[in-house]
Subunit: 199 residues, 2 copies
Amino acid sequence: MKLTKISAIRRKELRQAAFEVLQQEGMAGATLEKVAAHAGASKGIVLHYFRSKQELFEHAMREANLSLSEAVNARLKQATTPCERLEAIIEGNFEERFFRPSICHAWLSLCAEVPREPQLARIQKVIHARMRSNLMSALVHLLPRAECEAVTLAITALIDGLWLRAGLQSEGLTRDIALNQMREYLKYRIPTLNIRAAR
Amino acid sequence: MKLTKISAIRRKELRQAAFEVLQQEGMAGATLEKVAAHAGASKGIVLHYFRSKQELFEHAMREANLSLSEAVNARLKQATTPCERLEAIIEGNFEERFFRPSICHAWLSLCAEVPREPQLARIQKVIHARMRSNLMSALVHLLPRAECEAVTLAITALIDGLWLRAGLQSEGLTRDIALNQMREYLKYRIPTLNIRAAR
DNA sequence: TCAATTATTGACCGGCGGGACAATTAAAAA
DNA sequence: TTTTTAATTGTCCCGCCGGTCAATAATTGA
């Protein structure tokens, strides 16, 4: 029982260390030694818990996504109306602790590997699927069926685009600006919506 | 006279080869040897024309941007009304030859390096500035001044988001879908606009 | 306490990639 | 032609990084 716990703890520590190193070093610079050092361990231990660098960052991506996912779900749990659910999804995706340049850098680095790493592509696919399903479940009550698909794509594209910008031009794109941007889009696109006003 | 030409030609060939290798191999995999081989030359020649790998990909990014930029400008030149200018910018950014998964991969790889490479950051900044200036010059005639800024950000975020998606989920996001997405956004956001209908 | 399992380390290896360089070839200038 | 300059190649070196391994320390279970 204790032994399983230690391994679980180490693995989690290493996943998180990996993601944190990724924020500052990028995928190429995020070497096993740096990750280990950042977690206060030796390089050997990393490969003791993860078969390869690939696998390590696979789990790092899952972990990061999980944490974002939980934030959204927590908000969703408190939402009752479709409108509130929409708000929950969007605000969850722009919480201060996530929508930060360094975090965006890390995601960028992961995304850049997706085309060449099927495992990462799979995770990416899951992330998009969940986002889509969340959005659809709210939009279906706010728009004619035929339009939901398109609006879902627009919202995800907007979110991704804003994240990308936040990653590129460090600072200058605050959470508030991004949130206003999203709210404004919804205000114009879904007239029947009464959401907290955009600016 | 001839010598300057040869050097100019080689440099262009190498920049393009670099960008093409980037499409399939990513930044880490785009080794000097592969770029050289792809251009039909030897590794030495690459470092003869470019001081370092960094500089090579710097120029590759400039080249890729230039080509996109020219496409937009060509369309802009034929546009007369603000509405047409808007259309020109958007359609230029989704021409078939640019809006392809492999090209998106390459841009993704470059963007992922931006946070750690000041040179790339500078280029990125220029790209955004031009895009912004283009959009503003059209929007100013279509919207109250106060709204232009926000709409500009939304449009760029949408474009970036759609490109990102195209890069992540290879195929499945065609140029037509992306263009419709943009047109729909404009239709709702700029009511006074009469643009070719979105689907 | 003792055996067995697990955690952890550090040393080591093989490979590779960026970059330097000297040598060779081609071209241009004189 | 001769000389100088540029183009091009192949080789070599160094450092780094992922990954293996054997050895050691710690923990657990009996």
